[in-house]
Subunit: 218 residues, 4 copies
């Protein structure tokens, strides 16, 4: 019942969100995978509601005990999901950056956006719910900070668009990310696929407009 996200949060240190132990053995690897996938599936199917550790364990065909063997808390599980999401994003964006090295910023942005739409589109609801959950986490912990690595990747790309002096760029990359996420979420909600192409154009438009106003030439 609209039950609180993040209830009774005890002082959560960043460490507490790390997976408890990296599974060495093959079997445990499989267990961890099963858990993570189960969590994803439940989140996709039921949203935050119905996402509870017992359900995840059951869906994973594993005992709660095992879940807690690998994830010290429910938050840690969410964090892992986010981490994976971010990693995939990072990889894809890095590749896109590579592939478009030397091209215009506009083209690069479009490549980024295209990739992001693809990725979020693969499991749309999951992405959206994770965004939400991360928002919740961020409010409390800031532990899963918006994937600093992604920012680190984006910032230099944007810098190319800058005149020779170096005005501050912090925040700008983050804004771009947030902006794109929001619009992609909405586009995916819209449903039809051809609209995605349209959305891509508009998102690039928004980014371009934003960056121009931020002093970054596109």
């Amino acid at each position: 019942m609209l039950a609180n996200s993040e209830t009774r949060v005890p002082p959560v240190t960043a460490a507490a969100l790390d997976p408890r132990k990296s599974p060495r053995q093959r079997r445990s690897q499989a267990t961890v995978e099963a858990i993570v996938e189960a969590a994803a599936r439940i989140l996709e199917g039921d949203g935050p509601a119905g996402f509870n550790t017992n359900a995840v364990a059951r869906r994973a065909g594993v005992s709660v005990g095992s879940l807690y063997q690998y994830f010290p808390s429910k938050q840690a599980l969410v964090a892992e999901l986010s981490r994976r999401n971010a990693e995939a994003a990072l990889a894809g964006l890095a590749q896109a950056a590579d592939r478009t090295r030397g091209r215009s910023l506009a083209e690069r942005l479009r490549a980024f956006v295209a990739f992001a739409i693809d990725q979020q589109g693969a499991r749309p609801r999951l992405s959206r719910v994770l965004d939400q959950l991360e928002a919740g986490l961020a409010l409390e912990t800031d532990a899963v900070a918006t994937a600093p690595a992604i920012l680190a990747l984006l910032t230099p790309v944007l810098r190319e668009g800058l005149a020779d002096d170096t005005p501050a760029l912090e925040g700008v990359a983050g804004d771009c990310l947030a902006l794109a996420r929001t619009l992609i979420d909405r586009a995916l909600d819209g449903g039809d696929v051809e609209s995605l192409k349209v959305a891509e154009d508009r998102i690039v438009g928004a980014l371009t407009g934003y960056l121009a106003a931020a002093g970054v030439a596109v």
Copy 2:
């Protein structure tokens, strides 16, 4: 522990979110006000965590029973908060629209954004948390739909920027709203006040870019 946002939401009909009875007497008016304000304060202070009906009642200096006399459920309370938020937004935007009648779309957008920054800035965390909560609600119910009235206000303004034929505009206004919300939230998080002026520029930039790509001349 990261307990689910929106758990076990039963088939929530729109009706279920309406305040239970409008307080006739003076005394009850005060009670309702106290409850709503307490809810807002708790949401601001603790986020969704710690936002529970007993706490709200206690903070309001009222019994839980009274709370439930006016709000049939916790959700209804959130809905009321949202409603008020939306109403204030609507009023402000309407005024801004009036004041800028006849001006260029760009100017009007800037007026809208300026107002929104002001409004959200008044209780920044509250706005953000409500956004989150509404997102949760929307996922389940769509009952508190993103203030259709606001969309209704925005759409004709945007239409002015259109060539004489009428391409679809649905979604566009919503995207603009979401985009602005996101960026404003982030700007308010940034902290310093002068950055708000900067943010305003950039948001208008993003909107302009978005709209241009959507075929709306700014």
Copy 3:
């Protein structure tokens, strides 16, 4: 949710079940009537669930305060309902007894049963629910004893069927009453009307058999 009948019952004295004050004025009479009727209607419509003082008051078009002005407790209200039920029964049975004075016990029983079916049939669900509620009350208080007056009416009738000596008859009349109530309830549940005539026969049969075994010639 299967919430307890008779929760938190404080030491209920018989007195506590009496209506608080007999309404002298015409207006209050009407109020009391409205309350009692509302209670009956709710019991009929929703069963014990949904039978709460606030609902009764609302349905009666009266404030809770007024309800408590005339009935010191919810129990008292139920008691009143029972009392009225019992009174009507008593009147009808007395009349039947009169009308059949001098006839055979069998005939008189049939007359009683016929009347009871009629009466309970008038508001079948109400009767059944009241039976239930009374059972609950009896378990706790014994205050609304099964209408001793009715027993007092029945006993001498049965006594006629006795040989000249006087074996105990206590309990017998009560059993007859209970037996008839149960079967009538079931018959009324059955639904169709013609079955009622059949039921009448069987109930009389059961009573006859019971009494014969109890040494009462029919």
Copy 4:
């Protein structure tokens, strides 16, 4: 305070009354037993009042959580109690039927009644309270239908008493059951033991009379 029996019963499907999971391990078996027994004892001691899940758990020396691990709701617990009751009854009646195969219907009825008195007599108050609770349940759900298996057992026995053609017998067995239950309840209330023998006679008498009127020769 005479708080409603069976309040707010939501659409209870039959499934919702089934025990949640059958305990595999020895330990949990004991837990379930403890819970069921505690429930019975509380019902016996305090009646429906005081029968709440927390109390049951406490009395069972177990946490509420455990209770809900095995029973999805309070109702389910009642249902289980009923089920056990009905099962015991069924077993005993089946045995009695076997033992008296070939005898006269009268003798068989007496055997049934004797067994029922014994069984209900073992925990008289419990039986009575359960009857009441079941009545409540039935009004709402009909899920725990009066042990259709028992009816299935009784019906053919009664059929023996029928002339060769087959008039409807539905309802008849149910009436017999209800009739016997009622009278046994009352007899057990009476208190003294020798009265039970007397009661037996009378109950058989009532059944005989009833059946005769229903066209079943005894």
